[in-house]
């Protein structure tokens, strides 16, 4: 009986997830409760959305048989054969909603081409890209402070992305947006 209980406990321990939180949140004194604008791979995006704080979920790795995990960011390359350009979609996820930033990019865009955006400010005016919230499109600006991405056969994609953005749509306004993320194969889908 005792050994059965021990086996049961071990099984439960294996099934129940242990988690690792990969998000580090440092509060910005001047824009509470947003996170600081940094370039450390803190895995957080925050902004004011219609005057209220929007903060992404924590990036968590779950270890266990019922592991699901959570991530605050996804970057996807969407290729369209019938169009002159492809699309890069950057999506940030909070607990209840998401904000998308969509950029038009050249055909045969590679992971390494992301590095060309580093240090650049881009205006998304609806033709070369747009922001999207709650089904509504809007225009705005994004500054990529740092993009450093590399793909290695052994370890896959590794890198970092950070920057600022602001956007306006028919029913939404985003101000003081700042993001700071580490990149890997789970985040970048190319």
């Amino acid at each position: 009986m005792r050994s059965n209980k021990i086996i049961l406990l071990l099984l439960v321990a294996g099934v129940v997830s242990c988690s690792k939180n990969e998000t580090v949140f440092y509060k910005d004194d001047r824009s509470e409760p947003l996170a600081v604008f940094s370039d450390d791979g803190n895995n957080v995006m925050s902004c004011y959305l219609n005057g209220k704080p929007f903060v992404t979920v924590e990036r968590k790795l779950y270890y266990g048989l019922l592991s699901t995990g959570s991530q605050e960011l996804s970057i996807k390359l969407l290729a369209f054969q019938s169009m002159d350009s492809d699309t890069l979609r950057i999506s940030w996820y909070s607990r209840y909603s998401s904000i998308d930033m969509v950029l038009a990019i050249k055909k045969e865009f590679r992971v390494g081409d992301l590095n060309d955006f580093s240090g650049e400010r881009i205006s998304l005016d609806g033709t070369n890209g747009y922001f999207k919230y709650d089904g509504q499109k809007g225009t705005g600006h994004v500054y990529f402070h740092t993009i450093m991405v590399d793909r290695n056969d052994d370890i896959g994609i590794r890198g970092r992305i950070s920057g600022l953005f602001e956007a306006t749509g028919a029913s939404f306004q985003i101000t003081k947006g700042r993001f700071d993320h580490s990149l890997n194969d789970r985040i970048l889908t190319f």
């Binding site: 001047r30 604008f37 940094s38 400010r121 205006s123 402070h145 947006g177």
Partner: protein, 223 residues
């Protein structure tokens, strides 16, 4: 938890203070200078404090201490702010000033292992105290609507336990004792909120003071 620990501390001190009524009463005011060892920003303090022995034996003393640290050097810094708006310059320089304040209240345990000459001695001591460290950051005015500071300095406020120790040179001078001490203290607890720029203060202090005996020893007199 801090309130309960502090109340326990006060009870302990008030029990120990009962010894003062029976023992020789002395006070040890001092002033000094502290420099922070744990941050790149050069932060320093002017110290003013008071130590009062509550257990006073020839080789060992326990003292209650209270100290205030007042900002000496205001650290200045320059940060860069950025904007995503292409109609504005990409960067703007922003200046900041940083001031450190500290208040400490706790217990010292002091031992006097070495004596020489007429009235010279060397003591060693350890310290356990409650402290409040406050680093205030003030930025000069800038276009905050459009610009966001990169890697900003944030105000730090820490209240908690510190532990430390040091050495003290004593010399009998007139009716009292001159002393000079060198000590350092280290925060024992983690702050509740992480601070992006500053680590908790680790002060290295040089203090000098004068121990004054307030009561005379009772002498047995036959009348």
């Amino acid at each position: 938890m801090y309130k309960q620990l502090f109340l326990a501390y006060l009870c302990l001190i008030s029990v120990l203070n009962s010894h003062v009524l029976c023992a020789q009463v002395a006070i040890e005011p001092y002033i000094g200078y502290s420099i922070d060892l744990n941050n790149k920003d050069k932060l320093s303090l002017f110290n003013a404090g008071l130590q009062v022995p509550v257990i006073n034996k020839p080789f060992y003393q326990m003292l209650v201490m209270a100290e205030g640290g007042f900002p000496l050097d205001s650290g200045t810094g320059e940060s860069t702010a950025y904007t995503p708006n292409p109609l504005l310059p990409l960067t703007a320089k922003v200046e900041s000033r940083t001031k450190l304040n500290a208040r400490t209240f706790g217990l010292l345990h002091r031992w006097k292992p070495v004596e020489w000459g007429s009235g010279n001695s060397l003591s060693v001591f350890i310290k356990l105290a409650f402290t409040n460290q406050h680093i205030k950051v003030v930025y000069k005015e800038f276009n905050e609507v459009n610009y966001t500071i990169f890697n900003p300095r944030s105000t730090l406020n820490y209240s908690g336990l510190i532990g430390g120790g040091g050495i003290q040179f004593n010399r009998v001078l007139g009716a009292g004792t001159f002393f000079a001490q060198l000590n350092a203290a280290y925060p024992l607890l983690e702050p509740r909120e992480k601070n992006y720029h500053f680590k908790l203060i680790v002060p290295l202090s040089i203090n000098t003071g004068y121990a004054i005996n307030l009561t005379k020893k009772k002498t047995n007199e036959k009348q």
